[in-house]
Structure formats: C-alpha cells, structure tokens
Assembly symmetry: C2
Homo-oligomer: 618 residues x 2
C-alpha cells in the first residue's frame, strides 16, 4: 500500500484515523476527518517539503515577532507549535500557515503596554490571557456563525489600517537597528522617542542592521535569478530565496560570536530556554480580563480578516473552498492551544502561507510537520541562538512588512468615493497618531457612521417616462415625458427611522412649489423596507396631502413591503392607489402620457434613427 511509509505518523495512527467515526453532528466541525481519509504518501511528501521551507522561514520570524510584541523570544517559538496543530485539525484551508504575525504582534504589544506591567512574569501571563480571550471570542463567533460581523470593517479601512500599522512596526524596529532605547505605541510617540535618543546610536549595531537589511533585499530581489542563471531548478532557487532571514540569522550570529560584538554594545537575544513548550494557563483575574477583552476582540477580528483573505486567495487558485465560520473555529482553537502552551495570539500569516502554497503544501498536515520541526528546534537549536543580534530580527521585520505599505488605497478611494476616502484617511491618521486599537475602532465607526448618514438623507429623483419605453428616469439626467398634475418621486433608499422625516420634508417642499399638482406618486422600486417610523410618516403624509387636495399613490412596491403595508391597514386609508408598475400608474393618472411619449419617440427616431437595444444607462 502507498501509505505504509507515512512520515510523522505511524501506520497504526493512519489506520485509526481512517476508521475513526465521530457523531454526525461533529463531522462538519472536523474538516481533518475529510482530508485525513484520503491522505497518502505522495501528499505526505509534498506536505513535508513545504513544511521544511515554512519552518526555515518561521523560526526567525517567530523570534522577531515575539520581540515586536515585547515578549521573550521563546514565546514566538511556542506560538508556532501547538497552534499549528490546532488549526490543522479544525481549519478549512489546505495551505494557511498559522503562527505569530506582524500586525497581531504589534496589537499584542499595544494591548499589554497599556496595562503598565513591569514584571516579566506578569507580561507573559497577560500575553497568554490575551491569546486565551482571543481564542474564546473566535470560537464563539464561529460556533454561533457570527463571522459576518467582520464584514462591518470595509476593505479600504482594513487596507488603510494595515498600511498605518506597518509604518508603526517599521518605526518601532529602528530602536533595535540603532541600538537605542525608544518606546510608544503610535508613530509620533515612537519617532519622537527615537529622535530623543538618536545621539546614543551604537554604530556597530547600525552597521550590522543595515547590512542585514541590504542582504535580505538582495536575497529577495536578485538571488533567485542568479541561482537560475547558474543552472538551478527554478523551484529550488525559489525556495532558497525564501531562506534569506534564516541566512541572515546564521551569518550575523556567527559574526557576533566570532568577534564578540556583544562586548561592543550589540544587543543579543541571549538565553532562550531549551525544551518543549510549557503547559500554561491564563489568568482568571476579572480586572485583567476587563482590561484585555476589548483588545482581544480587536486582535481576533483583525487576525481573522488577515487570515481569511489569504486563505481565500490561495483557495481560489486551486478551486478549493474556505468556510469562514469554520475558519473562526480553527483560529479559535489555535489561540486556545497557544494559551495552553506558553504562546501568544496567532493567526494565518500572509507571506508564510504563500510560501507554503508555492512550496507545494497539499493539506493542513504540512502545518503539523512544521510544528514538529519547530518543536525539535526548541530542543536543539535555542542554545545556538544566544549570540543572535536583535538588530537582525529587526531587519527581518522591517523587510517583511515594508512591502505591505500601500498608499494607493488613498488615491483609489479619492477618485471613486469620497466617503470611503474619508474612512481610510481617518483610519490611517488615527492609527498613526493614537495607535492601532483606537485606529481600527475609529475606522470602523467612521465607515459605519458615514453609511448611516448617507442612508439618512436618501437620494430622491423626480422621474418621467423615457419615450419609446415603459421606463422612468431622473428628469435631470434623461429627456423624459412628464405631467403637470403628477409628481413622481423615486425614493432611492429603504425608508426607516433615520430618513422618514427627511422624506416627509422633501415631499412637502416639492408639493408647495407645484400648485397644479393633484397626484403624488412614490415610486418604490428601490424601497426594500418600510419600518414602523417610516410607516407613521407615510400615514402623516397621506393625511396632510389630503388636506391640500393631493392624492398619494405608490408604484412598484415590492412584495414583502406590500405584505407589511396590508397588515398595517395603511392601504385602507391611502387616498390614491397602488400600481404594479410606474408605467401603469402614470398612464392611468394621465391618459395623454402614452400618446405623447409615442410621438416623442417617433420624433427622435426620425432625427436620430432607431434606439440601439444595448443602451448605456447614463
């Protein structure tokens, strides 16, 4: 049989997995049952190679991101072991690589920083608690199918937030590149602090850091081409060019050890405990929970959005499916296992997942193999990292994140929608100025607030008949046929409490301007809902128009809305009628309309020829 020589799992384990039966209601929650049953040695080989590549990338990244989060380096490693296995069992993406990521690490630093803790033990406990709360929240969202809540962060707000976060991350790493002290959670705080301490720059650290950055950029941009030119296979060359961070770690660690650079003030990582991740438990202090729960929610949502977007992008390339609510469960379990094994909040990483995909990962088992590899490293590798300069880690972070800076969202939204632009600009500015938590909250609030504002002042167009059709369009945009006795308003929004009064005022104002008026038709083709407040406004409008001798009619009312209006007995009191179509309404109330329209259409045809059928709607 092909699966006799499974790496990583013995034959018995495979057999057991194949035969495993779980209650049917649990099956949808365990996607691993599905891919596990068709697992074979080919898949295993591909997954194993991908796992090796990801591991080489993840080890330096996990150390670096732990430093970014203000945590001991081993927490980055711990967060790269059990969480990967947790996700592999519950997640739906075949190629998502879970672990510490830059933005979540930055948000972790901000969340813990605001607690004002000084004891390292307390900081570690807070990070573990944050992972735990984040895991609980993600799991709850997934189980109760509330993943749609994440949709309330608009694409531009997320793009702006990411760009601003990345700038903060890069700025925060300059202290390690310069070998100075600096602190703060907003760009301005950090830059100010950097300038204060600039004179303390350690030149050797700076040289080392800048060399590392130059090396990483060179590996990234030129190494692959160079290797291919020297006869390497493109795939192998591609994999080696992803090992730049690993190479930088080895080279700078060796240099520091050989020349004793730490004696000249180059900050090094120092002792990293050797051994498997410890069992750990979060704090259950209610005060700490209430301090962290807001941060945990933000971290969860941002982490989920980053993760789901990369998972869906990669899945689409292979026509695979991602189930968002199940992804929430997968990430929730990953964070809970992180909290149980001395880690901190994790999510699916962008660059890492792309590498995993490119290296040929076929199932989530690749994540399991990566985890095993990193677990072995914590046993063997950590003593070798004693002389690893912090500047190298900072260089790795800076190079990894700066490619994500993208201000084009500002120009794109500026030309497309000023509303979206306002939300993006507010997000970027508040994130840079007041930090990540305020930034993303303000971004979400502004975009939702602007949406509400727009719906509260709906667009209303007076419409007339387009000659030669049964179609009614805005009199300000298209040459249409109208009647003096009839005002037809097309309301371009659902009617609800926030715009009910606005509709009333608009109708009264127009009625006052048109003394010949006998009929007002509200064309409801865009009215998807009329709530109780709007119903009261319609009743009031019906009464008031009656007292001015004007009848109120409705046209093109949608089925569900009509059902409601019937139930509320609004139609019993309505002075006018309800018409299926606006064309019926207008031709019934003004019998000359159809004839006039036919004449107009004929005139136009005589002058300009027949109207083409695929007409532009401008």
């Amino acid at each position: 049989m092909a699966n006799l020589d499974w790496p990583g799992l013995g034959r018995d384990a495979v057999g057991r997995l194949r035969k495993m039966r779980v209650p049917a209601f649990l099956e949808p929650y365990l996607p691993c049952l599905e891919w596990g049953r068709r697992y074979n040695s080919d898949t295993a080989t591909n997954d194993g190679i991908a796992a090796l590549v990801v591991m080489i990338m993840l080890i330096p990244q996990s150390l670096a991101y732990a430093m970014l989060a203000g945590l001991p380096p081993e927490m980055g490693l711990y967060a790269s072991i059990l969480p990967l296995i947790g996700y592999a069992l519950f997640g739906t993406s075949n190629t998502l690589a879970v672990g510490p990521v830059a933005v979540v690490s930055l948000m972790t630093a901000a969340a813990i920083g605001q607690l004002g803790l000084t004891s390292p033990d307390q900081i570690v406990l807070a990070a573990i608690t944050l992972a735990f709360l984040s895991g609980i929240f993600l799991l709850a969202l997934g189980v109760f199918k509330l993943g749609f809540l994440a949709n309330f962060l608009s694409h531009p707000v997320i793009a702006g937030f990411m760009t601003a976060s990345v700038l903060i991350i890069a700025a925060s790493q300059f202290r390690h590149l310069l070998g100075i002290q600096a602190h703060g959670h907003s760009l301005f705080e950090i830059v100010g602090s950097l300038f204060t301490h600039l004179s303390e720059t350690n030149v050797l650290t700076l040289l080392l850091g800048m060399s590392a950055i130059a090396f990483l950029y060179w590996v990234r941009s030129d190494l692959k081409r160079l290797l291919i030119a020297n006869g390497w296979q493109p795939r192998a060359a591609g994999i080696v060019s992803k090992a730049g961070p690993f190479g930088a770690v080895i080279i700078t660690t060796l240099l520091t050890w050989l020349f004793g650079l730490d004696d000249y003030g180059v900050a090094i990582v120092g002792t990293i405990p050797t051994g498997f991740p410890p069992l750990s438990a979060p704090s259950f202090d209610p005060a700490l929970w209430s301090d962290l729960v807001g941060s945990a929610i933000l971290i969860s949502i941002i982490g989920f959005l980053e993760s789901i977007s990369v998972a869906q992008t990669l899945a689409a390339k292979r026509r695979q499916r991602i189930v968002p609510d199940q992804e929430l469960i997968g990430l929730g379990v990953a964070n809970l296992t992180s909290a149980a094994s001395g880690g901190y909040p994790v999510t699916g990483g962008f660059s890492r997942s792309v590498v995993n995909f490119d290296a040929g990962a076929e199932t989530p088992a690749a994540g399991v193999y990566t985890a095993i590899g990193i677990a072995i490293s914590t046993l063997a590798l950590t003593p070798l990292l004693f002389f690893l300069p912090k500047a190298t880690l900072a260089a790795i972070i800076v190079v990894a994140v700066l490619s994500l800076v993208d201000f084009s969202v500002l120009t794109r939204t500026w030309s497309y929608s000023k509303t979206d632009f306002t939300a993006v600009a507010a997000t970027i500015l508040t994130t840079l100025w007041l930090g990540v938590e305020v930034g993303i909250s303000v971004g979400a609030a502004v975009s939702i607030g602007l949406f509400l504002y727009k719906t509260s002042r709906p667009h209303m167009a007076e419409v007339g008949l387009v000659p030669g059709t049964e179609h009614f369009r805005n009199i300000g945009r298209v040459r249409v046929i109208t009647s003096l006795e009839i005002l037809t308003l097309r309301v371009d929004e659902s009617l609800y409490f926030a715009n009910a009064r606005f509709l009333e005022d608009s109708v009264y104002n127009r009625v006052a301007d048109q003394p010949e008026l006998q009929h007002v038709i509200l064309m409801c083709s865009a009215v998807n809902e009329i709530d109780s407040s709007a119903l009261e406004s319609l009743e009031e409008m019906n009464r008031r128009l009656l007292s001015s001798g004007v009848k109120l009619h409705l046209s093109e009312v949608k089925g569900p809305v009509m059902d409601r209006l019937k139930r509320a007995h609004f139609l019993d009191d309505l002075t006018g009628m309800v018409f299926l179509s606006q064309f019926q309404a207008a031709t019934t109330l003004d019998p000359t309309l159809a004839e006039r329209a036919a004449v107009a259409a004929r005139i136009r045809e005589v002058w300009a020829g027949p109207v083409p059928s695929g007409m532009d709607a401008s």
Copy 2:
C-alpha cells in the same frame, strides 16, 4: 394706534423693537424680530390670557418636577423664568411652553444620582452644570445644523422609552404618597426599596395623597362638564379644569396649616427662598464635566425630541412652520439661561404647550408673560407654600404622567415589524431594569444595529418578465417568463462593505446550481450606491464568472452609480453589457423572450379577460 396700551412692554420698547435693525446674517437666528414687528394689542391680550393659565399650571408643576429631579423646589421656579424668555427670543414655535418637564427631570435625577454627591450645594451646582452642558450641546447642534442626528432614535424606541420612564417616575413618587424613604433609578430598585419600607407608611400622608389624586382625576374628567352644565362658557370651564393642580395645592396647604398635619408626620415643602432667581455659574471642573457630558447629551436629545414633536403637532394645526435647527438654538439658549439663573435642564412640555395653545397663545410673547408672572410669584407666593405637602406634588406628578403610559406600541410593532418590536422591547426592559440612560442608549444601539444587520444580508430576488408588460418581478411571487441561460438577480439594497461578500456568495451559489447558465444580469433598480468594497467584489465576481464561461451584465443602473463605475474603469473589464432597462437586457440576451411573453399574455387574456390598469402589486 392699536398698540398704545401694550401690557408687559412700554410704548418705547415696542417702538424700538419695530425699528430694530440687526445684521442680515443674524436675522434667521432671531425669529422674534419677525413676530415682534407685527405684534399688536389683540395678540397681546390673547397671549396674556394664555400666559395666566399656563402660569397657574406651571407653578405647582415646576415645584413637583424639581422634587422629582431631587432638587430644592425653588430650582423648578427658577427654571420657569429666564428660560422661557430665552426660548421666546430664539424659538420658532408660537405655542411651545418651555420649563421643567417630567422625563428630563427624571433623567436629571439619574445623572446627578450617579455622582454620589451628598452636599446640597454640590447637587445644585451639578444640576446647573448639567443645564449648561445641555445648553451648549443643543446650541452646537443647532448652529452646525446637526438636528438630523435626533432622527437616529426611531419612533418606537422613543415611545417605549417614554412609557418606561413614566412608570419609573410614577413608582418613584410612591415614597412621597406613602411618606416613606425609598431610592433607586430603575423600576426594580425603586419597587424593591418601597416594599422594604412599606411598614413605615404614614397613614395621614397616604390619605392626603390619595385624596389629591382622586381630586385631580375628578377635576380632569368631570369638572368641565359640570361647569358647562351649570351655565359656564365652555372656554372658561376648560381653563378652570386645567387649574386642578393649583386647586389641590391650595386646599392641601390650607388643610395642613389649619390642622398642623406636619406635626403628625406629613412631609411638607418648608422654606422656599423669596426673591428673583440668583445669578449662577456652572462648575468648570473637568472631572465633573466628563461625568456629566454623556447625561447632558442624552437629556438634550430626549428633551429636543419631546419638544419638537409637540411643537410640530401644534404648528400643523395652524399651518405654521417649525424650523428644527432653530428650535435647537432656542432650547440651547433656554438651558444656558437656566444655568445662569439657578435652574436645571428644561425643554418644551407636552401638556403645558397644549394648554397654552388651547388658551389662545398667538406668539412666543405668551412665554415672556408667563415668566414675568412666575418671577412675581417668587417674590410674593413662596412663603405661602411652606405648608404644601410633598404628597400633593407627588399626586400632581403621578396624575400628569400616567396618562402618557402607552403599551400599544408593543402590539403595533409586533404585528408590523419584528425588528421594531425587538428594539422597543429592548428599550422598555433595559429602561425599567437599568434606568433611563442605559435604556435609551441600548434602544438606539439596538435599532441601529438591527438596521445594519438587515442591510448586511440584503433581500435578493430572482426575477422574470410579467407577460403583457415590460416589468420584471420575483419568480417566487408572480407568474413570469424566464430563460434557462439567463439568471437575473434583483439586489434589493445598496451594495456596501457589510453586504459585498454576501452578494458574492449568493451569486456563486446560484451559478453553481444552474449549469446551462451563460448570463448573469444584476438588476440594480434598488442599488443606490456601490462603495469601494462592493466594487472590489463586483470586479472579483466578473473575473470568477468569466473563468466559468458566464458573462456578467448590469441593468437599470442609476445615474450616480453609473458615473462612479465609469470613473473606476469597472465597465472596461466588464464581460457583459450595461442595459438601460431590464426589459432591453432580457430581450437582447434572449430574443425569444418577448414573443413567449406575448403568447403568455394572450393566453391569460383569453382565460381571464384584460388586465386592469390599477393593478395591485402583491
């Protein structure tokens, strides 16, 4: 000349007002200039009579509401003098009677109660500061024309809030009616506290209070009829029947004084300082401001909504106009003058304004005369109120507010819209359970949240051609003509960030179910906006459908939306076309459609006769 014998203002004053010229940009902010210039002695007589009636009603009410607010009684009187003049100068309603009102007094009590103050001076200062902050907020809303913000409280939420508040108010007065101690700001707290102290009931107080309630109900329901039956003029009888509270005050004060009831434990009002309102200034302590600012905002919005609704109701009866943003300025000035003269937050009262209207008030000058009358009372009347029992004031409050209890909003919204019902029920329950501030905030949040939720999962209908028309309707509701190769989805909502992904998923799911499909038409008659996030989704959909060999078309795109799509170059990449009307789209993509529809219409006509033109849209 008719205006020689003006009461209240000397001849010189009138002359000066007539000749007064202010800079043109200020004119719209001073409605008093407009009515002042056409003021004459007839108007003055009518205003004077109305003022007298309102004064008789307002004196006991202002004492009672100050007690409800937990403030010294004279603050109620002070809040009924200068604020009335402030409103008269800046407000646009001719009949609104401003002063202390029940719900705002309750909210004042809740706002100050949460500060935990014990010193009476501090409590008074906090109330003055609350009026000041409320005034500033109202003025800012008015000047920046932000009155529309109040529309975000839906009608049912306001109705539910009022009913719940009134229950709390009535419950809170039972301690005065029973002569016991009780406290709390939610219904459950108050009722619990009442039961704890029930055994301490003072029977004499209870008798007095219940008699006062019975008397007030009798005056209200039977006195007017009785007087008319005895030959009184209906108008005079009506005015006397509004003086019930005044009568109750006189009778119970006399009884208490004559029989020394206070010696038997009947709580009395005691010393009320004699004299005009003092000059006062708010506290500028930032800590107090930050504690009160949330309450001030809620009080302002609730006060404004109560005031504007009565003002508009009364104005409509006489075909007069109310300018909401100018009303905000009027109420803002009223609250600032209240803060400057030892008062507390005020707004337009419902019953009082109706009385003012019925008694014949013609201009805001009636408010000025009321203010002058109350100012004189503070000089002469206050010593006479020493023996006024608190139980009488409680009886006045209970009778005034209980008529406002209206649970019918629950049944109405239940049958019309479960969403509105949810918002009302949440408002009533949280108000009763957690107090007015939490209640109204939760009500607003729930109604906005539910609106957002609904728009995030828009209704999408597959539509087909109604035979004999150019009209397309839901295939699930109307018998329509469709094509196998064409899927037409009518999206019943603007496309924005919260529903962009939902649209994508819906389209992919339907495409997967219909293998013959070659064209997807999105019918955009109800799409009023496509934001950047939704644009990205459309671009993605266009790409993915292309890879399945399906073309994406749009129909009935509105002008403003079309302009945007052009600007974003979406149309350059669109695989299909944009059609002016859905009829064009369907007949162009399926040339057999029109013919099949004509046959269907003919068949129907043969069986059922011609379609009537004013057709119901169900």
